[in-house]
């Protein structure tokens, strides 16, 4: 028997094409405990820049913990202990001289439920830049327009910038939160189930937006929606019980995953 189409070589199998791109993150042997609960076990993962990495897995598998570790949010919980290495742009984020404030300006985060501030649309977007000392009205105006445009919500909000953000729909609020995140000009955007509280059309808008944003940003997205991971990500990592069972190109994961656990999970047989 001869193959009709040449199989990928073994080296190609490990998301090699993307590995050639500069890495936004290089995670090596990361372990995390909540007190005695070993929540992340020997996690190693390379995240190439300007790509979308989807993290999938059943509840409690460690996926949210993992992305919150990428901007050191987990350490706000006093019972958390970590070891191992996470390099952001080749700098060790756990190093003593590494500034967590700097990390969090570079790594924005979008959460499951839209969480705009109880302020105007305009003030939501300018909140971060103002904290960073930008006061000039014209510069702030530019940031607002640029951020809202990038988050694909400018047309819907340009005539009501002074209105309270709570007047927006759930999907619009989520895009506003993305605009707020973009206003501080991050490098990475972490998204923790960003569409799970949204209707299908708002969900698709966010998905389209993710495709646009990956031209300029590196995106790591936790999702429970298998089809979403299949549609929007370049690579997918399947987490189970605190370990990475499989991390590969998304096309491979959803067509012929290596591990049976992965296949059982993506085809909805457990989880």
């Amino acid at each position: 028997m001869q193959t009709k189409h040449e199989n990928r070589s073994v080296e190609d199998n490990s998301i090699n094409a993307e590995e050639k791109a500069p890495l936004a993150y290089n995670v090596e042997q990361l372990n995390l405990w909540y007190a005695d609960n070993h929540a992340l076990q020997d996690i190693s993962m390379k995240i190439p820049e300007k790509s979308v990495t989807a993290i999938i897995g059943p509840s409690g598998c460690g996926k949210s913990t993992f992305i919150k570790t990428l901007n050191r949010m987990t350490e706000m919980n006093p019972i958390v202990k970590t070891n191992g290495s996470i390099k952001y742009r080749e700098n060790e984020i756990f190093a003593k001289n590494f500034s967590v404030e700097y990390l969090r300006t570079k790594v924005g985060m979008v959460f499951q439920n839209p969480n705009p501030f109880p302020k105007s649309i305009y003030d939501n977007v300018t909140y971060g830049p103002k904290i960073h000392g930008i006061k000039d009205k014209k510069t702030l105006d530019e940031i607002v327009e640029r951020s809202l445009k990038k988050a694909a919500i400018w047309d819907e909000t340009k005539d009501r910038l002074k209105e309270n953000a709570f007047g927006l729909s759930g999907g619009q609020q989520q895009r506003l939160c993305i605009a707020r995140c973009l206003a501080i000009e991050p490098d990475i955007i972490l998204m923790d189930e960003p569409t799970s509280a949204l209707d299908p059309i708002s969900t698709l808008k966010i998905e389209e937006l993710v495709q646009e944003l990956k031209k300029d940003y590196t995106i790591v997205i936790v999702t429970h929606n298998m089809q979403q991971a299949a549609r929007i990500s370049d690579s997918t990592a399947f987490f189970l019980n605190g370990v990475i069972v499989e991390h590969d190109q998304t096309d491979k994961i959803f067509s012929s995953p290596e591990k049976k656990e992965t296949e059982d999970y993506i085809s909805g047989r457990f989880g």
Partner: protein, 218 residues
């Protein structure tokens, strides 16, 4: 598994329908070979033509079932391949049903003095094609790749038998009656060879279903 019971049922149903369609096609092929052997085969040919309508509607039934499964269950990976392979196999099987009709119609045009030697040669060839078909369907039923591989080696036998059969036909000196027989026998030879080719397609789909690889067994 239990978690997705109706999903499992949908996928099992697809496989059962393809296997059932396979049984109809095999019967049609066997009947068409019988038509080749006997002289007065008009009613037999009519039956084969009528049965082919059932085979055609089975393909459409499988297509509808696969469409619904994809729409409702959103299968991925192996499950998705099971749906796609059911569609592709149903397509090949439908064509094989048509081939059985072609063989029967060609046989009806043969003279009463058809060469027994020639029809025996064709029957020999068809026997191998039938073995290939059984192997392919068994491979499909049991996800057994060894059977699929055997189909490929048997196809080589069919091809070489077809080649020598055609060469023999073309070398004959013929009057008008014999010329019609030679033409029809050559066509029938070609139909049987095509039937075997479709069988290798079936085997290739089984390989694809099992491991997601495209193999050229032809």
């Amino acid at each position: 598994m239990g978690v997705r019971k109706s999903y499992e049922q949908d996928l099992t149903y697809l496989k059962q329908e393809v296997l059932a369609m396979g049984k109809y096609v095999k019967y049609a092929f066997e009947q068409s070979l019988l038509a080749l052997k006997i002289n007065d085969n008009q009613s037999l040919t009519q039956n084969i033509v009528a049965d082919d309508k059932n085979i055609n509607s089975m393909e459409l039934k499988i297509m509808d079932a696969a469409m619904l499964t994809i729409a409702k269950q959103q299968p991925v990976a192996t499950d998705l391949r099971r749906c796609i392979v059911a569609l592709k196999m149903a397509g090949d099987l439908e064509r094989m049903g048509d081939i059985a009709v072609d063989i029967a119609k060609g046989s009806a045009r043969l003279s009463e003095n058809r060469s027994r030697n020639d029809t025996d040669q064709l029957t020999d060839m068809a026997e191998i094609a039938k073995q290939m078909f059984d192997q392919a369907m068994e491979a499909y039923e049991n996800q057994e790749l060894m059977h699929a591989q055997r189909v490929a080696s048997l196809d080589d036998h069919v091809d070489s038998k077809y080649k020598s059969f055609i060469q023999k036909q073309l070398r004959q000196k013929a009057d008008e009656v014999l010329l019609e027989d030679i033409t029809q026998l050559s066509f029938i030879g070609r139909y049987i060879e095509r039937f075997a080719d479709h069988t290798t397609n079936l085997a290739e789909w089984v390989v694809y279903e099992v491991n997601g690889q495209h193999f050229d067994l032809n």
